[in-house]
């Protein structure tokens, strides 16, 4: 009953005209940016973030959340129509979505995506409403050592599943932790690594890091990937709705995908891509249509979309109750909350109930908007994808410049974005993913503070981390993830090498 009453209050918050408007703007802009090939939810949130600094924190959070799940939804459009995923998670949707479009059933694929996203989003919303208060209560008993351990677990969990391998992911997290130390040390007041540049006294702004690593880097990478690629699909509204059998075949995948996605999304550091991939793999085993997966079946589109969207919602659980990002974009949310003067963590539910429950209720409103908006607007997104990318990207770079410049009205921030973007692109070429770096950058100051507190309270005894049951358990989990990730990386490399050698042997004429 408490949950229902709190949810009702949240609904009143989000139904206020201004919050409703920002929810709509967020969902619309998120979908718009997500539809563009190669520009993911990270870049979308980074580009919107400067605008939100002018808003009330609740409105800002509602809008950022709208951008997040709007972009994740929009990413599926270009993956279905062009086989170019708008977001990484949408690459799973493309496996069945693009073959469906090639069969002339793009409308059915997009409609199923919208329905599955809505279903997944609702499952995610229920999970966040039920689980968050209990998790927040548990987290109230956390000491600094436990917090340090939970942050470490989140960072390692996020980096260990990095595409470039666990080692590179962890290295990027550490590089992010180091980047987070630039500026004034809040404990001692000393300046660190500012190189005498006054603009660095307050550290590097999260928008600059996010714009550089995701806006600039993704833009550079997407120019060639998207050149010449434009949608040739047309949508026939007569063949838009799934058949009765297809409707029936959607329910199971949506429920399964939504459940798997909400579980994986709630784990610190994981993301929608993993959720969508696991849900697809499970569905491929249990579905009656499992033999047809990959050839263009409706459940193959529905399951990753439901998982993706439910994981997007439940990623807010660790973010808001523990202060540990549930997914890389959540790192930006934590950074944004801190700029608004709000510390994410177990006290947020007690101190900012309107904000928390307003956000949860906005998932309902936003997902309804997403559904209502996107069924009639599918034609518009299709037309958007017909615009050549050569007209798009110069405009996006101007928007990035405007967003960064408007932070402090200072061109130094643009130079810094340039440097971070260029370095990010070079690192990307060598499979160093930027998302773990951003996580480390956001959580670094928190981690350092908790480490200092722990050492002070334990009188310099590091064994305290192993003596407290919560931190010991979390550290054991962290160690387990590291060992597993390194083993998996090694095994994948060995397998890849074996395949390469076999191919070479077969290719060598006898």
């Amino acid at each position: 009953m408490d949950i229902l009453a709190s949810f009702g209050n949240g609904l009143l918050v989000v139904l206020q005209p201004n919050n409703l408007m920002y929810c709509f703007i967020g969902v619309f802009l998120g979908t718009f940016i997500g539809v563009l090939p190669g520009i993911g939810s990270m870049a979308a949130i980074a580009m919107i973030l400067p605008i939100t600094f002018y808003l009330e924190p609740t409105s800002a959070l509602v809008m950022i959340a709208g951008v997040y799940y709007g972009a994740e939804y929009g990413g599926s459009t270009s993956s279905i129509l062009m086989n170019v995923p708008g977001t990484p998670a949408a690459s799973i949707t493309a496996i069945d979505g693009y073959p469906l479009a090639k069969k002339g059933r793009a409308g059915v694929a997009l409609f199923s995506t919208a329905t599955a996203s809505f279903g997944g989003g609702m499952i995610g919303m229920i999970v966040i409403a039920v689980l968050s208060p209990s998790l927040a209560k548990l987290a109230l008993s956390f000491g600094p050592a436990d917090y340090f351990a939970v942050i470490l677990l989140g960072l390692i969990a996020a980096s260990a599943v990095s595409n470039g391998g666990a080692l590179k992911g962890i290295a990027m997290v550490v590089a992010g932790l180091m980047l987070g130390t630039i500026g004034i040390d809040l404990t001692t007041g000393d300046l660190r690594f500012t190189m005498g540049i006054p603009e660095l006294r307050d550290g590097v702004h999260i928008v600059i890091v996010a714009m550089g690593l995701f806006g600039v880097t993704e833009l550079i990478a997407s120019i060639r990937a998207s050149s010449g690629g434009k949608s040739t699909q047309t949508i026939d509204y007569n063949d838009f709705y799934p058949s009765r059998e297809e409707w029936r075949s959607l329910i199971g995948p949506i429920l399964r995908g939504g459940s798997i996605g909400s579980f994986i999304g709630a784990l610190p550091g994981t993301g929608q891509t993993i959720a969508a991939a696991i849900a697809y793999a499970v569905e491929k085993r249990v579905s009656p249509l499992r033999d047809k997966f990959g050839t263009g079946v409706v459940p193959g589109v529905a399951v990753p979309e439901a998982a993706n969207n439910s994981a997007t919602q439940t990623a807010f659980i660790p973010t808001l109750t523990l202060g540990v990002p549930g997914s890389p974009p959540m790192a930006i949310v934590i950074g944004a909350l801190m700029i608004y003067g709000i510390t994410p963590g177990p006290r947020l539910l007690v101190e900012q109930p309107d904000m928390f429950w307003g956000l949860v209720a906005s998932f309902l409103v936003g997902n309804i908007m997403l559904l209502i908006l996107n069924v009639p607007l599918i034609g518009m997104w299709v037309r958007l994808l017909k615009i050549p990318y050569k007209y798009m990207y110069p405009t996006i770079i101007v928007l990035i410049c405007m967003g960064v410049y408007s932070l402090n009205n200072n061109v130094f921030d643009i130079w810094l974005t340039l440097v971070i973007g260029a370095v990010g692109y070079v690192m990307r070429l060598f499979r160093f993913e930027p998302a773990p770096l951003l996580l480390g950058f956001v959580l670094g100051p928190m981690m350092e503070e908790q480490l200092r507190r722990t050492m002070l309270l334990s009188r310099g005894d590091p064994m305290v981390f192993l003596e407290r049951p919560i931190s010991a358990t979390l550290l054991a989990l962290t160690a387990g993830i590291i060992v597993f990730a390194l083993y998996s990386t090694g095994r994948n490399r060995r397998n890849a090498r074996a395949v390469e050698e076999k191919t070479q042997q077969e290719g060598t004429p006898s």
Binding site: Y393, I397, V411, I414, L429, R431, G460, P462
Partner: protein, 165 residues
């Protein structure tokens, strides 16, 4: 650095899998991290490490620098066995986008938002050969006017449309 042609399938195959496109292997990424870790370790040491009870200003940067140094060395060793680069680099796009950012940074305060945006769009669109210079100029003018209308007239952001004209 691995400059030799590692792939027996030839230089074209190398380019496709990313090894030969640059002429060097992936250890360069590890070397960048080693450089970064050394800077933070030295900086952290100079700032003061403190004592275990009261960690100094430099303790956290020093610790993270040391961890990164170890990881970077392991990465460099691993890369020598040849993971190569993930994708063929697009230096033209990289140069154009970086130059566009630089043009915006150099021009906005000096000549104003409208001409600054116009130049930024032209520089950013340079890698695209399919768009004529006139097309780039029209695109630049359209984006500049749109930015003027949206950011200055509608949102009242403190940009100056023109400076020194």
């Amino acid at each position: 650095m691995a400059t030799e042609d590692k792939n027996p399938a030839g230089p074209e195959a190398n380019e496709a899998d990313g090894h030969g496109a640059l002429g060097w292997g992936g250890e360069i990424g590890g070397l960048i991290l080693i450089g970064l870790s050394i800077i933070f370790m030295i900086g952290g040491w100079q700032l003061g490490l403190g004592i275990p009870t009261r960690l100094g200003t430099g303790a956290f940067p020093f610790m993270t620098g040391a961890i990164l140094a170890v990881l970077a060395v392991v990465i460099c060793v691993g890369e020598r066995r040849g993971d190569g680069i993930a994708e063929r680099p697009d230096w033209l796009a990289c140069g154009a986008i970086c130059a566009a950012l630089a043009v915006f940074a150099l021009s906005t305060d000096r000549i104003g938002l409208v001409p600054g945006t116009f130049l930024t769009v032209i520089v950013a669109s340079l890698p695209d050969k399919s768009l004529s210079f006139a097309g780039k100029a029209i695109l630049g003018a359209a984006v500049a006017v749109a930015c003027w209308g949206l950011f200055i007239e509608m949102l009242n952001l403190p940009f100056k449309p023109f400076v020194g004209f």
